[in-house]
Amino acid sequence: MDNWISTREAFGDILSEMGERYKDLVVFEADISKSTKTCEFARLFPRRFFNMGIAEQNMFTVAAGLSTTGLIPYVSTYAVFAAYKACEQIRTFIAYPELNVKIVVSHGGLTPGTDGVTHQATEDLSIMRSIPNLTVAMPADAVATRALTNQAYYYKGPVYLRFTRCPIPIIYPKDDENFYFGQARIIKEGGKVSLIAIGDMVYQALQAAKELEKEGIYARVIDMYSLKPLDYDCLEKIANDSRFIVTIEDNTILGGLGSAVCEFYTEHYNIPVYRIGLQDTFAESGEYNELLEKYGLSSRNIVLKVKNIMAQRGI
């Protein structure tokens, strides 16, 4: 786990490789290609790269229109500008007609850190998840990012893919391509505790599981990279072995991964679910790690939470 790389960077790399492979792939960008890492694609394929300026709403509807000609647009910006500023464009003109547009966004969750709340997308997963026809995912590292960005090309229909601004560790073996929308991966087996995480929180969950193991607590870790469709089979599989579930997301606890998991379990199982994420609050400027610590999303927080629950429930 020595190799740290932001998933926006991994996205930029694979996108350029895909540009070579897929001649019908077109990229839209809103003046931040150097930051979202689409700049290399722009250099290599200038005729299939459209810089739309600082005008995201126009960009998303243009991409919708272009997709009707059979080309496959990847639309890149920050998560805040896609999910909030262009929310209606995504909902009514991409998701409703089910157009084949790939929304690929950097700066998910608290990963923009010091940029502050204006640039931290901490509700986008909840908003995007509530839109019909839209597939929503966040890869946990650079390897998964490569696989899912490529997978999105073959996946028919609109996709929302969320990346990190700051570097996060690589957790999967190089060239692992075993990631599919609608599936999850159990990356560590365990006992009565199951940690379900998404995106950059998968690493925090893994770290927490390691710490817990030192104290004889064996926690299962699930990478629920596909928030929608959710892998119900996986949830079913772990339900019988787990005494309780903890969800961890770099997003508000309202409407995102935690909510999705609760929705499933309340209808089918009698199993308590605890949600880690932003507790209905905005964050602030600060280093990514400091923010995780302060807002309760760090591995240390997860360990404490698990131990508290166990004490409370007498497990």
Binding site: A63, A64, G65, L66, T69
Partner: protein, 290 residues
């Protein structure tokens, strides 16, 4: 030169006749649906008629033909006029028109491209159609196809900021395959455009955004036809046609009255409207172009 051409006048005459039929169907549809937007549908009727029954390169047997011309009704609430044209063209049976806004039908209150054959873009939320049209025009450039994209905009929706984002980008990409038409009836839901949110000087605005501007009478079929015909052959830049129209055109009590933006006629009004439209259609004088 063309005006001396007999076949030209034949075309114009037929289109005028068609436009009257379109208007009658619009009123019938909205009356049956008990809701809908007659005013803006009637103001756009002549423009859509000319497009669908003369200008557009489309194939009813192959609605998704890749090289077809694209048309987007950005002012989606005026969809009755769009539905009538598509049905009369043969994209779907005319019986469907009686199921406007009805549950289980294909003709939604605002257009849904997934449900209606021949309909190129979902619209209804204003300010979006021009952007979508730019996407299609850009797609044509990338794919090296030479179809044209036509977008009909309402005047009221020019209040939307995204229209001007789109206007800027069409110029940047030099989209000489894109034609916007403004249905300038000077009324929006709450009243006159100049009262709700002034859009003048409109021509100057588009010129300053790098567009070529044409101005026509949006009810003069010959004028509509001649400008679109000319643009088909030669277009240097993205072009906008400011079409001066009358909201509710064709039904005297609906004309220029913002009340008829979004309401259906009652039985009495319906009969009155149809009578007036039918009389106009049967009046030989109006088939004659001065």
């Amino acid at each position: 030169m063309r005006k001396a051409d007999v076949s030209w006048w034949e075309r114009v005459k037929n289109l005028k006749k068609k436009a009257k039929e379109v208007r009658i169907e619009i009123i019938k549809m909205i009356y049956q649906a008990k809701s809908g937007h007659p005013g803006g549908s009637l103001s756009a009727a002549d423009i859509l008629t000319v497009l669908y029954f003369d200008i557009l390169k489309i194939d009813v047997t192959c609605p998704k033909w890749i090289s077809r011309d694209r048309f987007i009704l950005s002012k989606g609430h005026a969809c009755p006029v769009w539905y009538v044209c598509l049905a009369k063209k043969g994209f779907f049976p005319e019986q469907e028109l009686s199921k406007l806004r009805k549950i289980g039908g294909i003709l939604q209150g605002h257009p849904d491209m997934k449900k209606v054959p021949g309909l190129d873009m979902t619209t209804g939320s204003l300010g979006q159609g021009l952007s979508a049209g730019i996407g299609m025009a850009l797609g044509a450039k990338v794919l090296k196809l030479n179809f044209k994209t036509y977008v009909l905009l309402g005047d009221g929706e020019l209040n939307e900021g995204q229209i001007w984002e789109a206007a800027m980008s069409a110029n940047k990409f030099n989209l000489n395959n894109l034609i916007a038409i403004i249905d300038y009836n000077n009324l929006q839901l709450d009243g006159y455009c100049h009262e709700v949110m002034p859009i003048e000087p409109l021509k100057d605005k588009w010129i300053s955004f790098g567009w070529i501007v044409e101005e026509i009478d949006g009810h003069n079929v010959s004028e509509i036809l001649s400008v679109l015909e000319r643009l088909k052959e030669c277009q240097e830049k993205p072009t906008v046609i400011i079409a001066h129209t009358i909201k509710g055109k064709g039904v005297s009590f609906m004309e220029n009255n913002p009340e008829w933006h979004g309401k259906a006629p009652n039985e009495e009004e319906f009969k009155l409207a149809i009578k007036e439209l039918e009389e106009t259609r049967n009046n030989g004088q109006l088939d004659f172009y001065p």
